[in-house]
């Protein structure tokens, strides 16, 4: 049997003395058969874990004061004859015989009678505790803390050797490999379970690195899970400052601890799922956000750039229009300048022509006038000449006459004077007379010239 007999004589003795499992089971069966009279026919206990099948009903009968349980089976025929339905939590008396199955090494009560006594004390106590906890507000939804989505560290209170540990760890690691798990191995059933788990929860709650605590165990009987209804444990979970996920048993199992926790999960695996966010989902979510952000950014840029471009186009078109307008104005100015120039030239030419004509006309008139005046002047000049000749003739005649008269008179006077003053004033008187005569002659000449000048 795997023991090396040659090496150790003592091991050889053990082999000879050891029984097989079959031998043991048969011996147990024989002992039970022989002791049948020692066993009662009626047993009192609490009904638990009722499972109905077509051929019969399996359930557990639990000690009213302690944890021990025993499996029970009632064939369907017997169940149909029960006056009351088998109901979990019911304190009842059953009529049963003890059966032992050597193939499985299992002991079981074969129940043939069932008499409920009412709700068991355990259930009454549980109901009362539930009421008290509810009155204290421990079940209120608004006191529940949110479970962190991206924990760096999760605390795990569970059996160090059970499958719950592996299930929870696998779920956490697959979804969030970066998350550290601090495992507090605790007893999760029996009388040591409550202080063990309370110690673990308090230890992890005091650890600042722990962001979420998972309290979990796998499925079991009501007796196995009853510790999660214990008031000290329930209140410890409720008072925890760190968010607590409670995952006890399977979906049909309900304990007070699950209701006071911040979240409830059906299984250890689901507790790990609840405590984490798949990092691929986070990265995908980041990609979606990034796409949204880039799309929004691109839209804003395109919109603003589009508006700016439109403004530039509009401004450019405005400048083009303005330039075209300026070109038009310049062309118009040039046209006007040309027109003015042409018109001015025309007007000036016309005026000049007119002036030329008038000047010519005037010149002609002047010429005519001049010629007429010249003719007149010639006539006048001729006449003047005639008058001059006549004046000169008349003057000469007059002068001659006067001179003759004067000569005569002078002669006469001279003779007289000479006669009278031949001696005294000889030449002087004669000279004075001559002088007077000369002055008179000059005066007459000047008078004649002046008259001629005036006439000219």
């Amino acid at each position: 049997m795997g023991v090396d007999q040659s090496e150790n004589p003592r091991d050889a003795t053990l082999v000879e003395d050891a029984w097989s499992v079959g031998q043991l089971n048969r011996e147990i069966e024989d002992a039970l058969v022989e002791s049948r009279d020692r066993f009662p026919t009626h047993i009192v206990g609490e009904i638990a874990e009722v499972d109905h099948y077509g051929f019969g009903t399996f359930f557990e009968l639990r000690d009213l004061e302690a944890d021990p349980v025993i499996s029970c089976l009632s064939w369907s025929q017997a169940v149909s004859e029960f006056e009351h339905e088998l109901k979990e939590g019911t304190e009842a008396i059953v009529e049963a015989s003890v059966d032992f199955y050597p193939d499985r090494g299992a002991c079981q009560l074969l129940v043939t009678g069932y008499w409920p006594l009412g709700e068991s004390k355990r259930q009454q106590k549980l109901a009362k505790l539930r009421q008290q906890l509810d009155a204290d507000g421990l079940f209120d939804e608004d006191r529940k803390q949110p479970i962190p989505s991206y924990p760096n560290c999760i605390g795990l209170v569970t059996s160090p050797s059970g499958s719950a540990r592996e299930d929870a760890w696998a779920a956490i690691n697959s979804r969030s490999p970066r998350t550290t798990v601090k495992l507090f191995g605790a007893t999760v059933q029996g009388e040591d379970a409550v202080p063990s788990m309370i110690s673990g929860i308090n230890h992890l709650d005091a650890d600042s690195e722990v962001e979420t605590i998972i309290v979990t165990r796998g499925g079991g009987s009501d007796a196995d899970l009853w510790c999660f209804n214990a008031e000290p444990l329930v209140r410890c979970i409720a008072a925890c400052s760190t968010p607590v996920i409670v995952a006890i048993g399977h979906e049909d199992d309900e304990t007070l601890a699950e209701y006071v926790g911040d979240a409830r999960a059906m299984t250890p695996t689901k507790a790990g799922v609840l405590a984490t966010t798949p990092f691929e989902d986070v990265l995908s979510h980041l990609t979606v956000i990034e796409d949204r952000m880039l799309w929004g950014y691109r839209s804003v840029v395109e919109d603003r750039v589009g508006r700016l471009a439109q403004r530039i186009v509009t401004a450019y078109e405005g400048l083009e229009q303005r330039d075209s307008h300026l070109q038009s104005l310049r062309q118009r100015a040039r046209d006007l300048e040309q027109r003015i120039t042409n018109r001015y030239t025309t007007v000036v030419d016309t005026r000049l022509d007119t002036l030329d004509t008038r000047i010519d006309q005037a010149l002609k008139e002047v010429e005519l006038a001049t010629e007429a005046e010249s003719a007149s002047a010639r006539v006048a000049h001729g006449r003047l000449n005639d008058l001059e000749r006549r004046v000169n003739g008349a003057y000469q005649t007059h002068i001659d006459r006067e001179l003759n008269s004067i000569d005569h008179r002078i002669e006469t006077a001279y003779r007289n004077v000479e006669a009278e003053a031949r001696i005294e004033a000889g030449t002087a008187q004669a000279r004075r007379l001559r002088l007077v005569v000369a002055v008179l002659v000059v005066l007459l000449i000047l008078l004649g010239l002046g008259i001629a000048f005036v006439l000219l």
Partner: protein, 64 residues
């Protein structure tokens, strides 16, 4: 909640807010650029924080 967890959640929330602001479009070019740069920084930091590293399993004191 540790600073890193807070940081992750806050950065993701901030990225959501930036995305909504840019999608809404009521920002000028300069502000859009600022938001874009901030978002890029958050994304880079988050991808660093979320970089796959094997977390440890630390076994605390056990009570049987």
């Amino acid at each position: 909640m540790t600073d890193t967890s807070n940081d992750i959640q806050e950065r993701i929330d901030r990225l959501e807010s930036i995305a909504e602001t840019l999608e809404d479009g009521n920002v000028d070019l300069a502000r859009a650029k600022e938001l874009r740069d901030e978002a890029d920084e958050h994304l880079q930091e988050l991808r660093t924080l979320l970089q796959v590293n094997e977390g440890d399993v630390i076994e605390m004191d056990k009570i049987e």
